[in-house]
């Protein structure tokens, strides 16, 4: 943006494209050329800005003027009157302030933010999470007011069903349907739970959502309680998120004080209160029935289903459990309507998804994109591609329950079905980019080590099977792989997937099976050639001093086992027998003279 006088951002979302957004852009380009202004103006594309009914959309900065309902003919007027004469074309200006467009207004227009569409995270970074007034100013609790005054519970459920919202915790179960099952139960004692036990290593979607905008979750839960007939909500949140807990506690206190929680909310007949329940360091408690047991004061161990929680859950009563991100979407579904919400995304997966983009990409962080965005767009568009000129190898989605997708899947349009078809899962949103320097076998071992440690121990396949898979993988990475190991991993993995009691066990083999499917040759190299092509498995490496060694002796000094010999100013040598592969010499060498082979 630096030296240009103007920045034009053209919405490149699907609705605008259908309405000739490209032609409008073409016309703008042509007019700018004709006026010899092209070099003064930067043209960006952005992801859907959200005002699809008013598209095509154009945003002019400085000044953040938003134009809508454009036709190619309007380009001349905009360039002449606004850019040249300095006066916006008032008949084309949209004054409407879309709910999630605000984020874009403040942060948009960059490689990272421009393509995003922040619905669940619409207020994060904008409101002070500890100020109820801020949330109210951003149309907070307007959805709740509408629900309580204008809608019946059944109408609320219909709206959520029509929106196509699916559970964002990973399973992708249609939210409206889940609400309907719970509402249908004749019990008067029902519970609404928010699953904030985000345990995937490297995932921080829910934490950020709660820390940044706790009220949206409360609002979502109260609406959910109204819809299904519950008066008690519980937020189950990890003890490792003290700031999120603190913000939730403040939000609850503030909401209670203003009559938004508690008896007769906003003067209506509906009462609802929320209690916070802390986890205590058990990943398995993210599973619905395990979470229920944990709230009840037991060991967090799952149980067979049926009965499903919507019929018999917490304390044996009908219980509705949804993920943080699902709840965060509810107020928007109500305010903006199911029709708008369902216009975003793919045929089967509506709305947006928050991802925690991490690993070997330039831009890491939390992103929210419409379903249907391709992996390529995310990794190379928003993420900025792989640093240091390295080659893309795979993207891991779904955390320890997911799989690794190699290059051929980059153009997959992300939704629940397409990711499953590709051999991974959506999961809760973890997305880790892997380059050529990562060993897929070691990555699989990393994930199963985690799942093994977090296994509750109740059922045989998960408790014993993941342990055996880990043992095999450990042997392979230590150079002791044996013929038949891959077949054993496959056999065990498929059995554990089908026979385990809960989702943790059922998905624990996913990273292993998907890496075997997509990177089998790496496994075979480890086992048969004792080679790790990514040079990560230290037991399979040799550190060799190259010819460009200047003989400074830095490596010799740091070697803890005196495995390096050589005279000053002469090429040194590492004794492979003594070398314990600690890698200190490699780090100490300033001349890149040591290679890992």
């Amino acid at each position: 943006m630096a030296n240009k006088r103007f920045t034009l951002t053209c919405c490149d979302g699907s609705s605008c494209l259908r309405n000739q957004a490209r032609q409008v852009r073409q016309a703008l380009e042509e007019e700018l050329e004709r006026q010899q202004l092209r070099q003064d103006v930067e043209i960006h594309l952005s992801g859907c800005v959200g005002m699809c009914s008013k598209g095509p959309i154009l945003i002019v900065n400085p000044g953040y003027i938003m134009y809508g309902n454009l036709r190619p003919e309007d380009a001349v007027e905009i360039v002449q009157k606004h850019l040249v004469e300095g006066e916006p074309v008032s008949r084309l200006v949209i004054s409407e302030d879309h709910l999630f467009n605000r984020f874009y207004r403040i942060f948009g227009d960059s490689e990272f933010f421009g393509r995003q569409m922040r619905i669940a995270l619409r207020n994060c970074g904008i409101v002070d999470p500890e100020k109820l007034d801020d949330y109210l100013a951003m149309r907070g609790y307007e959805a709740l007011a509408r629900v309580l005054t204008e809608m019946t519970p059944q109408q609320v459920i219909e709206e959520v069903k029509k929106s196509g919202l699916r559970g964002r915790g990973g399973a992708g179960f249609p939210t409206g349907l889940k609400w309907e099952y719970t509402a249908r139960q004749p019990e008067s004692e029902k519970y609404v739970i928010c699953n904030a036990d985000e345990g995937d290593p490297g995932a921080f979607m829910d934490r950020s959502a709660i820390e940044g905008d706790p009220h949206t979750i409360l609002e979502g839960m109260i609406i959910g309680g109204y819809a299904v007939g519950s008066h008690q909500g519980i937020i189950y949140i990890r003890a490792e998120y003290p700031l999120a807990v603190k913000r939730l506690q403040k939000a609850i206190e503030d909401a209670r004080r203003e009559g938004l929680l508690g008896e007769r909310i906003l003067g209506s007949d509906f009462s609802f209160d929320i209690r916070i329940c802390l986890g205590a360091g058990a990943f398995v408690c993210g599973e619905e029935t395990a979470m229920i047991h944990s709230i009840e004061g037991y060991r967090g161990m799952p149980r067979p289903r049926p009965p499903y929680p919507s019929v018999s859950g917490l304390f044996g009563k009908p219980t509705l459990i949804n993920n943080v991100e699902t709840w965060a979407n509810i107020p928007v579904v109500i305010i903006e309507g199911a029709k708008w919400f369902s216009s975003i995304g793919t045929a089967t997966s509506k709305g947006t998804k928050v991802f925690a983009l991490a690993g070997k990409v330039h831009n890491t962080g939390l992103i929210e994109v419409p379903m249907g965005t391709t992996l390529r767009d995310i990794i190379f568009g928003i993420g900025g591609g792989i640093p240091n000129g390295k080659k893309f190898k795979a993207v891991q989605t779904g955390g320890p329950s997911g799989g690794c997708l190699p290059e051929q899947y980059l153009d997959t349009q992300i939704d629940y079905e397409s990711l499953t078809k590709a051999g991974s899962i959506m999961g809760s949103g973890g997305m880790i980019v892997i380059d050529e320097d990562s060993c897929m076998v070691k990555m699989a071992k990393f994930f199963i080590e985690f799942t093994q440690d977090e296994s509750c121990g109740k059922c045989t396949p998960c408790r014993e099977g993941t342990k055996r898979m880990l043992e095999i993988l450990t042997r392979i990475t230590k150079g002791d792989g044996r013929p038949g190991d891959i077949e054993k991993l496959e056999r065990l993995g498929m059995m554990i997937q089908k026979a385990s009691l809960c989702g943790l066990g059922q998905s624990a083999p996913n990273p292993i099976l998907s890496t075997i499917r997509n990177f089998r040759d790496e496994y075979e190299e480890h086992i048969h050639q004792k080679k790790c092509r990514a040079h990560e498995c230290t037991a399979l490496l040799s550190f060799i001093i190259q010819d460009n060694c200047v003989g400074c002796g830095a490596c010799k000094r740091v070697c803890p086992v005196n495995a390096i010999s050589g005279n000053r100013k002469e090429k040194h040598v590492i004794s492979q027998q003594l070398c314990i592969k600690c890698g200190q010499c490699y780090l100490a060498c300033k001349f890149n003279a040591i290679a890992k082979e």
Partner: protein
């Protein structure tokens, strides 16, 4: 421990006991177990057996059940944690450079086994996997600080450093409490 610190602990314990009494009359009192164990750990730093027994009697939950819960969740400590956690690296490089001797020195000097805490509450001794400082092996980490190239004398010196600092802190706190609270 200073007088005021003890008093604070007593106050917290008192309010926990009052809280447990209110919980008894609510529906599903057992569902507050984990919350109460969190509170106990906030006061004591771990879950003392006497406290688990007290919770069992007050809330009428079987002790075995509480034990099952306390051992299931990683967050709960069943042993007290010292003020300083001393982790000795047991990676290969350190091992080769004499980590076992350092471990023996620590065990003797602190008078405890691995995983335990000294009676004065100052040190907990743990083993760690490779800390990634192989160039200065053998290595220990006290809280977040790494000390390398250790021998018997250096190890004992480091421990004494922390002991001295703790004693100084104690004297200062004692003087302050004698001066009276502001």
């Amino acid at each position: 421990m200073t007088q005021t610190a003890v008093q604070v602990k007593e106050d917290k314990l008192q309010s926990l006991r009052e809280y447990m009494q209110t919980v008894k009359d609510r529906p599903y009192p057992e569902s507050y177990l984990i919350e109460i164990l969190h509170k106990v750990q906030n006061i004591f730093g771990y879950l003392p057996r006497e406290m688990m027994d007290e919770v069992a009697h007050t809330l009428e939950i079987p002790t075995a059940h509480i034990w099952g819960v306390a051992t299931f969740y990683h967050h709960f400590n069943r042993e007290p944690i010292g003020k300083h956690v001393v982790s000795i690296c047991m990676g290969t490089a350190c091992y080769v450079k004499g980590a076992s001797a350092v471990l023996e020195t620590l065990k003797k000097e602190l008078g405890i086994e691995v995983g335990k805490t000294t009676p004065d509450g100052l040190f907990t001794l743990r083993e760690a996997r490779c800390l990634g400082a192989c160039g200065i092996a053998p290595v220990i980490m006290v809280d977040e600080k790494i000390y390398g190239q250790l021998d018997t004398k250096k190890t004992i010196d480091i421990i004494n450093q922390y002991r001295k600092a703790a004693a100084v802190e104690q004297t200062a706190a004692g003087a302050e409490s004698r001066r009276g609270k502001p």
